[in-house]
């Protein structure tokens, strides 16, 4: 597109662009990863439909087959003059940064990370979109804490990282808040793509008596669902809490999804696209989407929460409000979690 040098506010001078185009680069998961890539694409598509844009042309994605593809993919889109180009996933951070440096006129956005320049300042032509996963995780933690019969709960992460730690810490805090005696097993599979490992870990946790497992492990989580379904079929009363999006479907037909922590990448992407279209590109800003902004949350489809009682739902609502009004600060690191725990006592 035709950007103006003073950045942060490119697009057409009048602020409204009739021919606005937007595109994204997926990571290796692709737009059907049942996770943030998919969510982002759904957001973009919805945005495109609303604005009568041609999907595949005005609104488009490019899939990466390896991390080596991120840079050329981003460049491809920039060279094709898309007005806004997203890099989906923190893995693209340095590539987005480089693209931003090389194409100061381009408007870029990254999901799940913050792109900073060499002085650790957010880059002017990149909008950084992050989420407060700990808040959503806190809420599903509350559900888990209230629902568990065995007082044993599991958390399975994909690869140990800052990002997944947010899920873990928030979740644990939520559990402990409503059920201080509950025991929480935590294990990382070391892999986002190993359903067999996910299954084995879930088997271990359920075997040790856990009745609810919250996973944040991508495709590794598939194994968690498989294990839960199997057990449910055999008469055990076990649950999985889905992540990133409403994973109710995945729990069928045995119906093992207790609830899901949803991360509305779609909302965030739509939001940023809209602003950009209107000439208010949030370049240089670090956007944090939390409960308040509908960026994260607990699944809203009531039918998908039928195993959570009305009372419990009310409790969840309470905590949601507490988090939104700042009464509770959901922890996002081990340190914050420890601090939070001691504050409970």
């Amino acid at each position: 597109a035709c950007g103006s040098k003073d950045s942060g506010n490119s697009g057409n001078k009048d602020g409204k662009d009739d021919n606005f185009t937007v595109a994204m680069v997926t990571d290796t998961g692709g737009v059907d990863d049942k996770s943030f890539n998919q969510s982002a694409w759904e957001g973009l598509k919805a945005f495109g439909k609303k604005n009568d844009m041609k999907v595949g042309k005005d609104v488009k994605y490019l899939q990466s087959t390896s991390q080596a593809d991120y840079a050329p993919n981003l460049n491809q889109l920039i060279h094709q003059n898309y007005d806004l180009v997203y890099g989906i996933g923190y893995l693209m951070e340095s590539d987005v940064k480089k693209a931003a440096e090389q194409n100061p006129d381009a408007q870029l956005a990254i999901v799940d990370s913050v792109v900073t320049d060499d002085n650790k300042k957010p880059m002017k032509n990149v909008a950084s979109i992050t989420f407060k996963e700990q808040q959503g995780s806190f809420l599903v933690g509350v559900v888990a804490g209230m629902t568990t019969k065995s007082k044993k709960i599991g958390f399975i992460g994909g690869i140990k990282s800052e990002l997944i730690k947010k899920f873990e810490s928030g979740f644990k805090a939520g559990v402990k808040t409503v059920n201080p005696d509950a025991k929480i097993f935590v294990q990382y599979a070391g892999d986002f793509n190993a359903p067999d490992k996910g299954q084995a870990i879930a088997a271990t946790m359920y075997g040790k008596g856990a009745d609810i497992i919250y996973h944040s492990a991508g495709a590794t989580g598939n194994g968690v669902f498989t294990e839960a379904k199997t057990r449910k079929k055999n008469g055990e009363n076990v649950w999985v809490i889905g992540v990133d999006r409403d994973q109710y479907e995945q729990g069928l037909p045995e119906d093992v999804t207790l609830t899901s922590m949803v991360k509305r990448v779609d909302n965030a992407v739509t939001e940023v696209s809209k602003e950009t279209q209107q000439g208010k590109f949030p370049g240089g800003k670090v956007l944090e989407f939390g409960l308040k902004d509908n960026g994260v949350g607990i699944t809203t489809n009531k039918d998908h929460m039928e195993h959570v009682s009305a009372d419990e739902l009310k409790k969840v609502e309470e905590y949601k409000n507490k988090i939104i009004n700042g009464e509770i600060k959901a922890p996002k690191t081990d340190k914050e979690y420890d601090a939070y725990l001691s504050s409970l006592k």
Binding site: A71, L77, S113, I159, F192
Partner: protein, 353 residues
């Protein structure tokens, strides 16, 4: 007789060429059947990698590790060993290069850069040494050990990054400028691609492999052991030591491939949740290149061109990048089935007369 010999050389040169043509044809047919436009697809590939400097640069950039991992596989092949462990050797090389780059960041570039590359070669060599040693000493099949070593490399490098060199973004910090292969000049030349000086390293490596194998007594030994360990032992060569050496050298090439990614393309190393695949691609590159240095370079070029070109193909013709994978697979099939092509050529010739 002489003429047959020459013809043979011509044949061996023609086979990859014909294979590529057949592979592309087959790819076109698949596209036609599945409703894509092959002309547009190929045109977009060719246009991007030949006429858009950025993609030309990226193609050459992508070639660099492919050449090196192809050399690694080819070298082992030449000595009768099958190194499926290039992937793992590459990972440890990558990590080592980055770690040395960061750890000795104060050294001047003239020292640090070679040091980091050599360290990576050493790391890869050690990773190759293990299967070589186990084969020589305990007669353990190198195919299994190299597969196992791949997984070990993956987990160990991840662990090391997480424990010692972690920074935000699931990766190591970037290497300092003094350990970097990247070049402003090359970047500007190619409209900002990640092309770096590593291509010189790759070319040197290709020459080194050719030189070792065909010009030195050691290479003679390695090939001899590869063809006939018994006769080699009879002739006074130390078979075990050569098996080990061969794996170590092969691993060193792979390690340097890793260094190219660490010091050139990325300037850092990420935590990898799965294999990155360059090592496995190396197998295909080596085969396409008939296990010769020059062939490996051409094989890598083809591979890299298709891979980078597929980005434009996806973007412009809408064809999923997986089609490139299919085409590559078919090309490998055709190269492998050279007998078929030979036979066809002979038939054609006879028919022509």
């Amino acid at each position: 007789m002489k003429r047959i010999f020459n013809n043979n050389r011509l044949f061996s040169f023609l086979i990859p060429v014909i294979s590529v043509i057949l592979g592309l044809l087959a790819g076109a047919i698949i596209m036609l059947i599945t409703g894509y436009n092959p002309l547009l697809a190929y045109q977009s590939i060719i246009h991007s990698i030949f006429f858009e400097p950025y993609y030309s640069g990226e193609t050459i950039r992508a070639m660099i590790p492919l050449v090196l991992s192809g050399l690694a596989v080819a070298f082992a092949f030449r000595t009768g060993l099958f190194n499926i462990g290039v992937e793992g050797q590459l990972l440890v090389g990558w990590f080592t290069a980055v770690a040395v780059g960061i750890g000795f960041g104060d050294l001047p570039k003239a020292v640090l850069l070679p040091l980091a590359i050599i360290a990576a070669a050493l790391a890869g060599a050690i990773w190759g040494f293990v299967p070589g040693f186990l084969k020589a000493r305990f007669k353990v099949h190198e195919v299994i050990t190299t597969i196992m070593m791949n997984y070990i490399a993956l987990h160990v490098t991840n662990y090391l990054i997480r424990t010692y060199l972690y920074t935000q973004g699931e990766r190591t910090p970037s290497v300092p400028e003094s350990a970097s292969l990247s070049s402003k000049f090359l970047m500007d030349l190619t409209q900002g691609s990640r092309l770096h000086w590593g291509f010189i390293v790759a070319l040197i490596a290709a020459v080194i492999m050719w030189f070792i194998l065909w010009k030195t007594t050691k290479g003679y030994e390695l090939r001899s052991v590869g063809f006939n360990p018994n006769a080699s032992k009879y002739a006074g060569m130390n078979v075990n030591r050569n098996v080990i050496l061969s794996m170590a050298i092969s691993g060193a090439f792979a390690g340097v491939a890793g260094a190219m990614e660490g010091l050139g393309t990325y300037q850092y190393m990420t935590i990898n949740s799965t294999f990155i695949g360059i090592g496995f691609d190396g197998i295909a590159v080596a085969l396409l290149g008939l296990n010769t240095s020059i062939g490996v370079i051409f094989g890598a070029a083809l591979f890299a061109g298709l891979k980078i070109g597929s980005i434009s193909m996806q973007s412009i013709a809408g064809v999923p990048t997986d089609l490139v994978q299919i085409i590559i697979a078919l090309i490998i099939f055709f190269v492998a089935s050279s007998y078929l092509i030979r036979w066809l050529l002979v038939r054609l010739k006879k028919g022509g007369k």
